[in-house]
């Protein structure tokens, strides 16, 4: 039966009854897909006789243009899968064996879970809630309560392990030098330049719909693709840079270098909005101030900024450490920029562009009003009018200036830009070509094509660059490339997401529902990786992790490697328990080390849909709902600004529940942890929800929409520029009186475009103050509290208030290099503030002796359209098309190794070995292979389900980490490959099989086991 009375859905009750009526009619319901955690494409779901029969893309969707990939189309095979977890279960056998699951009631399960967790928390040998680890995987809108639980109970070991290897570095490096998550490009704008760097969104839909990526490419003037092999859409690009894995940092510097040499950068942006003109004094004791990125969240994690940038406090007694010195070439003297207020010396208030003169309304470039998904949104573009004349200011970018310090010394100061140019000058195209295995002319031509004019388009720099051991540096260097060519927050540029700034009150999707960040800096500094060996908060190898978590949207994390070590060693404090809601042991760090560690935990509670290997280590398992059984608010992650609902289409299977809600209003009460404060008067938007401490599903959902308020549009300022201001049905502001109302309107309207709403509709928000919120935004004492929509100071939310070519955060927190020297090309002094190139931990140049025995560079994880990481291996329509794991290898290399197409081979690193099948692919460098990730075999028995047979993260060195944020090196390490033979396979069988039972894996589409996984209707079941 569909839609029990009283359930919250996108349909009115009447239609629910209609659906129940067995009339064979087909109903189409609007929703959002979540068969992957990324795009969450708006879809149409067809239901007949209460059963989902078809899923298609919603053509009217502005974010995805009707995209619906194979996973979305086949999602009902997951929904109706016979092997879904249906009831709460409890283990009866020791961990590491078949768990012998027995069914228990929900009440029993929650009670036992609370007892199990409390026992650990209350044990004096442990460190309270810090001894419980959260394991959360990648993007699942409906599971984010797990990410807020730490704030409720107070554990620092929070978040998604996935975040550390996925988006965490991009979001945090963005927040360090510009703003959070600027890697998101509003691709539906249609930029002049299509620039994919380490990504293939046409199949990964990350976070641009494959369809939109393909359209964007087709409609671009210039197209560039950076990645080691011939890619699906990349193969069509004008410039294809097939670089050696893990050398993106050097390539980025070389491209910037060419642009600087040719002066094709955007000088005005650099002078006015970057810290390029700020003066550096080598001969200066770094000094500074405590800085919290307080625009983000209450109780923000303070950073201790210590910089050699010249400040008023260095020159004048009692001067401000946040006023930065710049050489005014017009007046031949130093002038100051005050970072907190965003004002130049002599300014009394922000100077906004003139809406009449400087603004223009833009529409997506390649769609016409006849197109279904034409977004009639007029986005407001601003042409930077330059420095106010009254300032008589022209900041110098080059030169050497003598300045006198307050101690009387006269020292030499040079602009950051000059230093920056010197740093990248090392990377001539020739040098980079040799280092990256590229062609020097190709590097040169690519740089010039991209910088042909300012604002050609954003760089979509995605996942792989976070996986090669220098994540933070690589991300920020690429962002600098986008910055110097004025592609930051421009039409089709590196836009980022506005969620935090605009949809503050519909924070629902990431912190379900609104939870105050109650972790004090002392608490969050205790997370694995940030805690010192002696237990001092924030004194560990990765002191920036707690700060990164705070700016990180969903990419909140602790260090997976250290955490696993802590589980095993108990030092500096023991971690004994785990709560998982999505996530797995084989996706970051070393899979074997994690498995062994998780096996020893005293108590592990998890929600799952499937009997995955990781969940087989749990003590209590709770059944989670499929996305077609759940509802929640959905805002597109990327810069497109789509907004709508995921709708509950069918009743949940058996006893499955919405994981987040059962955590909020069942587990939290059992732990005695109030989710909402009893006194809500001091919390914005909560007042109207009475004194309930644990919201019901209805309250939580209502909370997510009725709090949306029309914005205060700068006193009507922007409307004169033709900036659109209305949103919603019939031009009414987007406002809902209940969740049901929201869903009803969504059914009628489809996805809304937030670009119709200020400040989302603005480009170059730094010109308007929309990137920095006013002080007091989160401060209940302030009169601006409760008010949203007021702009803050102009510029960027960074310590210097500018886009930081010189990163004061990285200068203050130089990376932990563990004594491993990997820096390449430092001709000047070591300066952590400027971009750094690092050789991968294991490479032909870093470890030539290892290269002798392991002569191939491994990169992993290019997305398989059919599977979402480890998901989908039991869905017949996916598995039949791609039954076994593959790795790509050049035919010449394969020939040397005696390997033929389809051969099972061993891939071996210094850490371990796994088997995958060879795909002879002439589009990859003969010195490189690329292997599938995420494999396990649901057809093999518990507890391992064969994960160690083919999962590529068995090969990973968990200690080879990004020195800033700790991201695991999942790509760019050394391996050898050899054909699997009966002699070199442990059980004499080349095709992997379960070592105990001898059961073989599924290797073909007509394996009868796939038939058993087909969903059956009631009639079909009866007919059996």
């Amino acid at each position: 039966a569909v839609l029990a009375p009283g359930s919250l859905t996108g349909l009115e009750q009447a239609s629910a009854e209609e659906l129940n009526a067995d009339n064979g009619e087909v109903k189409r319901i609007r929703s959002h897909c979540r068969a992957c955690g990324k795009m969450e494409c708006p879809i149409w779901v067809s239901v007949k006789n209460g059963r989902v029969i078809k899923i298609e893309g919603d053509e009217s969707a502005i974010s995805s243009h009707g995209n619906c990939c194979c996973k979305g189309r086949g999602a009902m095979q997951a929904l109706y899968h016979p092997d879904r977890i249906k009831y709460p279960m409890k283990r009866t056998n020791p961990k590491g064996e078949d768990p012998g699951w027995v069914r228990i009631s929900w009440d029993e399960a929650i009670q036992q879970a609370a007892d199990g967790l409390r026992k650990i928390v209350e044990d004096p040998k442990n460190n309270g809630w810090h001894s419980i680890k959260i394991l959360h995987g990648t993007g699942r809108t409906t599971t984010y309560a797990t990410e807020s639980l730490p704030a409720v109970v107070g554990t620092s070991n929070q978040g998604s392990t996935a975040g550390q290897v996925c988006k965490g570095p991009r979001i945090a490096s963005g927040a360090m030098i510009a703003y959070a998550s600027p890697h998101w490009v509003a691709s539906n704008d249609g930029a002049k330049c299509f620039f994919q760097w380490g990504t293939n969104q046409e199949v990964s839909n990350y976070d641009t719909a494959g369809k939109v990526a393909a359209e964007m490419k087709s409609n671009s003037e210039v197209s560039i693709c950076v990645g080691p092999r011939l890619q699906n859409l990349g193969k069509e690009c004008d410039y294809q840079l097939h670089l050696r894995p893990g050398t993106d940092d050097a390539l980025a510097q070389a491209l910037i270098n060419v642009i600087i040499q040719n002066k094709t950068y955007d000088e005005l942006f650099i002078k006015r909005w970057t810290n390029g003109p700020m003066l550096v004094v080598d001969d200066l004791e770094p000094s500074g101030f405590a800085w919290t990125n307080k625009y983000e969240m209450p109780g923000a994690y303070p950073l201790n900024i210590r910089t050699r940038l010249l400040k008023e406090s260095d020159m004048v007694e009692g001067g401000s450490p946040q006023k930065f010195a710049v050489w005014n070439a017009r007046q031949g003297k130093v002038t100051f920029f005050d970072a907190p207020s965003g004002l130049w010396e002599g300014e009394t208030g922000p100077t906004y562009p003139d809406p009449e003169k400087d603004c223009e309304v833009l529409h997506p470039s390649y769609l016409t009003p006849e197109d279904d998904n034409y977004d009639d949104t007029a986005a407001l573009n601003t042409i930077d009018p330059g420095f106010p004349e009254a300032l008589n200011l022209d900041p110098a970018l080059e030169g050497e200036f003598e300045v006198t310090l307050k101690d009387g010394r006269t020292v030499r100061a040079v602009p950051v830009w000059q230093r920056f140019a010197q740093r990248v000058a090392y990377w001539t195209p020739e040098r980079a070509a040799e280092h990256c295995w590229l062609d020097a002319d190709l590097i040169r031509e690519t740089a010039l094509a991209y910088s042909k004019e300012p604002g050609m388009g954003g760089i979509m720099y995605n996942l792989p660059i976070e996986h090669t051991g220098n994540a933070t540096e690589t991300c920020r260097t690429i962002l600098c490339l986008s910055g110097v060519t004025n592609n930051i927050d421009t039409f089709g540029g590196n836009r980022g997401s506005d969620l935090l700034y605009f949809l503050y009150n519909t924070y629902f999707q990431y912190h379900t529902p609104f939870v105050d960040n109650k972790l004090t800096p002392d608490q969050s500094g205790q997370c694995a990786g940030a805690v010192g060996e002696d237990g001092t908060p924030g004194a560990g190898r990765f002191p920036l992790i707690p700060w990164a978590g705070q700016v990180g949207n969903a990419a909140i994390f602790h260090d997976q490697t250290t955490c696993t070590d802590q589980i095993m060693s108990g030092k500096p404090y023991p971690i004994r328990g785990m709560i998982s809601c999505t996530g797995s042991h084989f996706h970051s760090g070393n899979a074997v080390a994690n498995w062994e560690a998780f096996k020893t935990l005293d108590f592990y509670l998890g929600w799952e849909l499937w009997w995955t290997p990781t969940i087989e280590l749990a003590d209590i398992v709770l059944p989670a709902r499929h996305f077609l059984e759940n509802t929640c608010v959905r805002a597109s992650q990327n810069g497109e600004g789509g907004f709508g609902a995921m709708v509950k289409i069918v009743e949940p299977m058996a006893e499955s529940k919405w994981d987040s809600l059962s955590l909020i209003n069942e587990l939290a009460p059992a732990l005695g942890a109030p989710w909402w404060p009893a006194d809500k008067s001091q919390v914005p938007f909560l007042g109207q929800f009475g004194d309930a401490q644990w919201p019901t599903e209805e309250q939580a959902l209502d909370m997510s929409v009725i709090t949306m308020k029309p914005m205060d549009f700068m006193g009507g300022h922007v409307m004169q520029a033709g900036g659109p201001t209305e949103l919603g049905l019939d031009g009414a502001p987007l406002q809902f009186d209940s969740y049901q109302d929201f869903c009803d309107k969504f059914q009628e309207h489809g996805q809304w475009s937030l670009k119709k709403m200020s400040p989302f509709g603005y480009y170059k928000r730094y010109l308007w103050g929309w990137l920095r919120s006013v002080e007091g935004y989160f401060d209940s004492e302030s009169e601006d509290f409760m008010v949203t929509g007021k702009p803050g100071p102009l510029g960027f939310p960074t310590p210097t208030g500018k886009f930081e070519l010189w990163s004061t955060v990285l200068e203050s927190y130089p990376a932990d290099t563990q004594g491993v020297e990997r820096e390449v090309g430092l001709e000047d002094d070591y300066l952590a503030a400027l971009p750094i190139v690092r050789e991968p931990y294991e490479s032909p140049y870093q470890t030539p002796e290892v290269y002798e025995e392991y002569p191939l560079i491994m990169t992993t994880g290019h997305r398989n359209p059919l599977y979402f990481h480890s998901e989908g291996r039991q869905q017949p329509y996916m598995r039949e098309l791609y039954p076994v794991p593959h790795f790509q290898i050049h035919p010449d290399t394969a020939a040397q190794l005696g390997i033929e197409q389809g051969d099972w081979c061993w891939i071996e690193s210094r850490r371990g070995r796994v088997r995958e099948t060879a795909d002879l692919f002439a589009g990859i460098d003969p010195r490189i292979i690329e292997a599938d990730h995420g494999w396990w075999y649901p057809e093999l028995p518990a507890p391992k389900h064969g994960w160690d047979l083919s999962n590529v993260n068995v090969l990973v060195d968990q200690y080879a980490q990004d020195p800033v944020l700790g991201s695991t090196t999942l790509r760019a390490y050394l391996v050898k490959v050899y054909k699997a033979t009966p002699e070199n396979c442990p059980d004499g069988h080349v095709v992997p099989r379960d070592p105990d039972t001898g059961i073989e894996i599924i290797t073909s589409g007509d394996d009868p086991r796939l038939r058993e996984w087909m969903p059956l209707t009631e009639e079909e079941k009866e007919a059996l």
Partner: protein, 297 residues
């Protein structure tokens, strides 16, 4: 890993082999019996030919997934399979006519014999023609009817020789029959050689050709590789052992031996029949291995 080939359709392999046996035998006895020395083998020959026809026919029906549906809907008269059926039917009718005449009058008129022989040839040609498909470059060659004709001829001559040895006392005629059989098998061997040369000349493109994106575990069929595979690769056993040794060399040896004392070496001649039959099966299996569509889906 093995390459994907056309699925080997055993019923069709058996069908074509036995049709060759049947038509060859029928053809040979019709022609040979025009000479008196060979008249005595007509009845056993006819029975053999008819039995082979029935076995072949049954095999082909077995190949249909829903045979019952077939009869009654002869939707497309010009299709190869229907032409085959017609030819097969005509041959069967002719055999019956032949049989009835033989029983009634002791012998059959020249006209019937000529018709029988011609129809036998036509049956083999029609049958081979239905496999000469433009879609299968390895089959779409004049060598195919040639091979089938010579296979039919070899089998027919062999059966004739065997029956002569069993049914008559005329050593000279027996020896002659064996000589004819030897000649037929030698020609068959030449056809096989021609086929081998043809296979080796098929064009292909190595790893550069179209490749399944879904079934990467299975190498694309490279038509060019069939020559190499049969001469020295995974099909070498089938070719050298099955087609050449079993199907050609051994039977020739057996025939050479039996030629001296045909009636004393009935066993050797019988063995030769079986060997050529087996060789034919092996060669057809090889044809299926070579038979890849222009593009493999």
């Amino acid at each position: 890993m093995e390459a994907v080939n056309m699925e080997l359709q055993w019923p069709l392999v058996v069908f074509t082999t036995f049709i060759c046996l049947s038509a060859g035998t029928f053809g040979f006895i019709s022609v040979a019996s025009m000479k008196k020395e060979y008249a005595r083998i007509q009845l056993p020959g006819l029975i053999t030919a008819f039995a082979a026809l029935v076995i072949g026919g049954l095999a082909s029906v077995l190949h249909l997934q829903t045979p019952a549906r077939y009869f009654g809907q002869f939707g497309n008269i010009t299709s190869g399979i229907n032409q085959e059926l017609i030819a097969l039917g005509l041959v069967a009718i002719t055999m019956v006519v032949y049989f009835v005449r033989l029983r009634r009058k002791g012998d059959v008129g020249r006209a019937v014999k000529v018709v029988s022989a011609l129809l036998s040839v036509v049956l083999v040609l029609v049958m081979s023609h239905s496999y000469m498909m433009a879609s299968m470059p390895a089959w779409n060659t004049i060598l195919l009817p040639l091979y089938y004709l010579l296979d039919a001829a070899s089998l027919g001559a062999l059966v004739m020789a065997l029956l002569m040895a069993v049914c008559t006392e005329d050593d000279t005629a027996c020896s002659k029959a064996i000589v004819v059989a030897i000649a037929a098998v030698v020609l068959l061997a030449l056809a096989v050689v021609a086929f081998a040369v043809f296979f080796c000349s098929l064009a292909g493109a190595g790893y550069t050709q179209a490749m399944h994106v879904d079934l990467l575990t299975v190498p694309p069929v490279d038509p060019a590789s069939i020559g190499e595979r049969m001469l020295s690769g995974d099909l070498a056993m089938l070719f050298w052992g099955g087609v050449v040794a079993v199907g050609l060399v051994l039977p020739l040896a057996a025939l050479v031996v039996s030629r001296k004392a045909p009636r004393a070496s009935v066993g050797a001649t019988a063995t030769a029949v079986v060997l050529v039959l087996l060789g034919g099966l092996a060669f057809r299996a090889l044809l299926y291995c070579a038979g890849a569509s222009l593009l493999v889906y």
